[in-house]
Subunit: 314 residues, 2 copies
Amino acid sequence: MVQQRIRWGIMGCGFISGDFVEAIKLLPASEHEIVAVGSKDKSRAEEFKKKHELSCAVAYGSYDEFVKDANIDIVYVGTRNNQHMDDVIRCANAKKNILCEKPMGLNLAEVKKMYQVAKQNNVFLQEAFWSRFFPIYKDIRKIINDGIIGDVQVVQASLGFPILEKMERLYKPELGGGMALDLGCYLVQFALMVFGKGKKIEKVCANGWTKHSVDDTGVFVVKFEGCKIASLVYTGTTVLKCGAEICGTKGRIEIPSDMNAPDKYSVTVMENDKECTKNYSHERPKGDLSKFHFPTSNGLAFEADGVRKHLLTG
Amino acid sequence: MVQQRIRWGIMGCGFISGDFVEAIKLLPASEHEIVAVGSKDKSRAEEFKKKHELSCAVAYGSYDEFVKDANIDIVYVGTRNNQHMDDVIRCANAKKNILCEKPMGLNLAEVKKMYQVAKQNNVFLQEAFWSRFFPIYKDIRKIINDGIIGDVQVVQASLGFPILEKMERLYKPELGGGMALDLGCYLVQFALMVFGKGKKIEKVCANGWTKHSVDDTGVFVVKFEGCKIASLVYTGTTVLKCGAEICGTKGRIEIPSDMNAPDKYSVTVMENDKECTKNYSHERPKGDLSKFHFPTSNGLAFEADGVRKHLLTG
């Protein structure tokens, strides 16, 4: 049974696991505890423990040993994309709840299998779509549902920066590389959040190019039934603004930057043929941000907090 | 021969002709003069003359008579889209120089014919792409050419507002309606400005919907040779931000709004993995703006001024 203070096991010692741990440290220690760190290599687990000052956590040099740790309530799977399926199944069979970094799997078949095994073992399994836990995403859903911007018909979103050639796991297909899996997925979840509920997809068209045998830059346009369209742009080589717009017949919502981890947005409504814009902000959790690898990762705290609440309420 | 003060004939008395005339009035009277106004209906020409205080202009109730006016150096064709071809040919055969509102024709065949007749008559013919005359467009071209934002690979642009059902000429196919002709063309010229010079188009994909038998909303993605892509969104029913981004490997240029008639832009470059942004502005011509139908139409003065310079320098 999960207690008020949930006990995390961290699987994989890369940048994202480090940022997730630092984000948890921004939350009350009475609610979150990191009890175990797992790697294929014990020295790497020890190094991670030291770097992130996790003196109370046990370091494991084997994932099979790690998942046996009886103190773990939930495993954060932060391994490479191509390892997710095996790691999730390993955790599920050990009766651990799981928060798995995105993309959950490399394809639909993998994801279906992962959910099947989680269900068989009666454990919680969630893809780590941290964006959905941001307060601004909640605001946006309410504004749309309340009809403030009228009938929403157009979504535009983009995400990208020159990162493809800087990280081996991104440009190697055998490591689950390609920018659609790393960045494109944020755009898809955004379009699905706005249009997806019960709406069929009528047409998808895509255009772009590959580099090093993985996808580098892509534009995909998704037409949902009933005059709804999403135009989504991602890239691993150019400097995009990373904004998003949700446009309706009466107004629009804009996220000016960091569309996947936003700290500000605006709402524009037409009044007597003139645009009236109001700006809002909701900061990411504060604290010592010097140890984060990605500048917006303090927002992972929203996700950790949200997952804890799920677990406590069942 | 064209004198220092060029003499305009205005063909068609709709909103855009009115705005063009008001824009000319923001320029020095020693350089621009409106000498004639033509309509199919004399009372409409007289009314236009009165409304825009053009006491020195002659009002014509027939286009055939209008084009015979020996005082006209250049005709501004501001008639409906479906009339452009006939009107341009009429002007060309009367040996008048021509600035024709966009879209020049309804299809490629019409435009080819118009250029052929203009050439035969040795007159100047230009599509009224006023955007290209804005100082900000000139700045942008220089920034790209100077390599400030690296290799430009991605263009995003959008233009649209709920206007389709407010203007008969927009929703009637027989009047040359549809939003691609009215708004989409701005996006195309923008993508062509950035990528088009000598670059082949490798692939185009499009998605969207129609209303009242004309196109309402569309997204088209144009892939140019050599890893260059443009994602272009237009609509006649929803409230878009109407911004544009030109994204390269080292930075980006943003036009936050009014991408077809901009008064501000920013340039962001990456410096030590951090974004450094500088904002710039270049106001549209000042003056009495109360008589303009569209809020950015004072920018038409840039176009009138640019066309005058073309005519004077041959």
